[in-house]
Symmetry: C2
Subunit: 324 residues, 2 copies
């Protein structure tokens, strides 16, 4: 790879001048500029980003920390982030944290050492202190780290209300909830939303809420158990789509017909939800849009531009399909 020096030599000018035409900054004579551009073309010169980064203390790279890219929620998010970052001239370093505090901190250190300009993170375990110490713009997505930090989330409560009320409107009279992990904010909120709707129903009991782990296995088990102890259940609101699919599988195992005998609603609106048979009714999050917004916000933050709002709560929509 040719360096700026070689370009300068070939063009018969100083490196300072080459740098000026490169960055279109400062005065450069018309003729000189042409000479330089010619040399650049001739050598197929591309500026060395590492050297640039060292000087600028910025690497035109952002970090994306997700629990696990294999979790179907995140590929769409990652795609949105990468698309948007790319549009603004940034690269993205992908990090899978497994929600592990040690790994997370290691990734943060690594990103900092690599002069990333900013970080987008989805994590339950990260603390405000960790983030602030970095001294790098960070946008939190899907899960809120701390009030005051830039955050993109969705209307979890409202979505849960919608889902639950919808099941009622569909004629369900015994509605259970498979919740996400205790302590995970969005799981707690979705559960709370469900609870608010069914609380004063005469039939409601705490045993209508069962624990899942946001994955299919846990949900299948939970549903099997649930339907055994409460055969009267005719509606399930699962806290995410994977668990809703798990519930469908469990129902299928038991020979319970979906949606005729049991209606199921999920949450997230991942691509997967439209792939099942029957297709899943779900509360969709605008995942791509959220990733896009997070990245745009991060870019503004990185450029020290005025960023009006730093907290966005995106609306969610009920998509009615065949599981209800």
């Amino acid at each position: 790879m040719a360096s700026i020096k070689e370009v300068a030599k070939l063009a018969g000018v100083s490196v300072a001048t080459v740098s000026r035409v490169l960055n279109d900054k400062g005065y450069v004579g018309q003729h000189t500029r042409e000479m330089v551009e010619q040399a650049i073309k001739e050598l197929n010169y591309k500026p060395n980003e590492v050297a640039r980064s060292l000087f600028k203390k910025q690497s035109s790279t952002i970090g994306l920390i997700v629990p696990d890219i294999m979790n179907p929620y995140f590929p769409e998010l990652a795609r949105a982030v990468e698309d948007t970052a790319s549009k603004f001239g940034y690269n993205v370093i992908l990090c899978n944290s497994d929600e592990d505090k040690v790994k997370e901190q290691a990734y943060l250190d690594m990103l900092q050492q690599n002069y990333v300009n900013g970080i987008i993170v989805s994590s339950n375990t990260m603390t405000a202190e960790q983030v602030i110490k970095l001294n790098i713009p960070v946008v939190s997505i899907d899960r809120e780290i701390s009030k005051g930090l830039p955050t993109i989330v969705v209307e979890n409560m409202k979505g849960a209300h919608t889902a639950t009320r919808y099941l009622i409107s569909k004629g369900c009279s015994r509605i259970a909830h498979i919740r996400g992990p205790q302590g995970v904010v969005n799981a707690d909120e979705r559960c709370e939303g469900y609870r608010e709707v069914v609380q004063q129903e005469s039939w409601f009991s705490e045993s209508y809420i069962v624990d899942g782990d946001y994955d299919m296995e846990s949900s299948i088990e939970a549903t099997l158990e649930l339907l055994k102890t409460h055969p009267e259940i005719d509606g399930i609101f699962a806290a995410n789509d994977i668990m809703a699919i798990g519930a469908m599988k469990a129902a299928n195992q038991l020979g319970t017909k979906v949606p005729d005998e049991l209606a199921i609603v999920g949450f997230d609106g991942i691509k997967l939800s439209s792939v099942t048979i029957p297709e899943l009714t779900t509360i969709v999050q605008p995942i791509y849009e959220m990733g896009e917004k997070a990245t745009k916000m991060l870019v503004s933050l990185m450029n020290q531009q005025e960023v009006g709002q730093t907290y966005y709560k995106f609306d969610v929509d009920l998509i009615e399909r065949n599981s209800t």
Copy 2:
């Protein structure tokens, strides 16, 4: 962030000495070492990776170029690559090429300018020339760029044989194939494998092979059309899982029972395939393992170590589930 200079000053030594203890290279007195380590701890010093990269002309980063991380095949691959890279101390920059030659070249340039140590790429459009010009180790995965370049692929033909023969063994007597895009090597191979098995069957006709685009939409349409013109079909081998699921949906639309009236086999073994109802019988690729192998191979290549084999053709397995 503290720099090596500050550490040197605090420890009362030169930066050269600090560098020596950092890299555990060259002579350092026991006492001196302790002083330096103390200073490092005190300042919570972390070496600046960008400066290191500039000097070394290596950035301990690898690039991963995939068509689209939202395509369900790639999250697992990406996870494998990131896990393995991380284990060896490398970061991964994620690139979505959309199989677009212009984007691909732009990413290659970017990666080169960022001094990545190596690249893992899945692409149909990339040429050997592009790769060689980079002068950076590149491993191609899932799709072969050119003989001679490090490559990880699977037994596409064999998998197609297995799938087709299996359908026959299940009693299917009219087996169709929904193929992937023309010109894409693995699609061509899978189609060829199918053809070899059914070619001399008296019932076989070219119209049993229909074009799909490796996505669900195209497959639904293709299957609808197929089943209309050939209602006698009782088995379908789809060239990937997404299309197999599309076929299931089409069958469902037409009221055709899977697997009773129509058996369906997919290819790839993505996580999705075990989520459908009925679960999909498919030819599984060891995706994670392939990503791991690709990364390990790349690491060896980057370290200029002896790499015996640079071409791996992974075996595939039939997983029998409920769609057949």
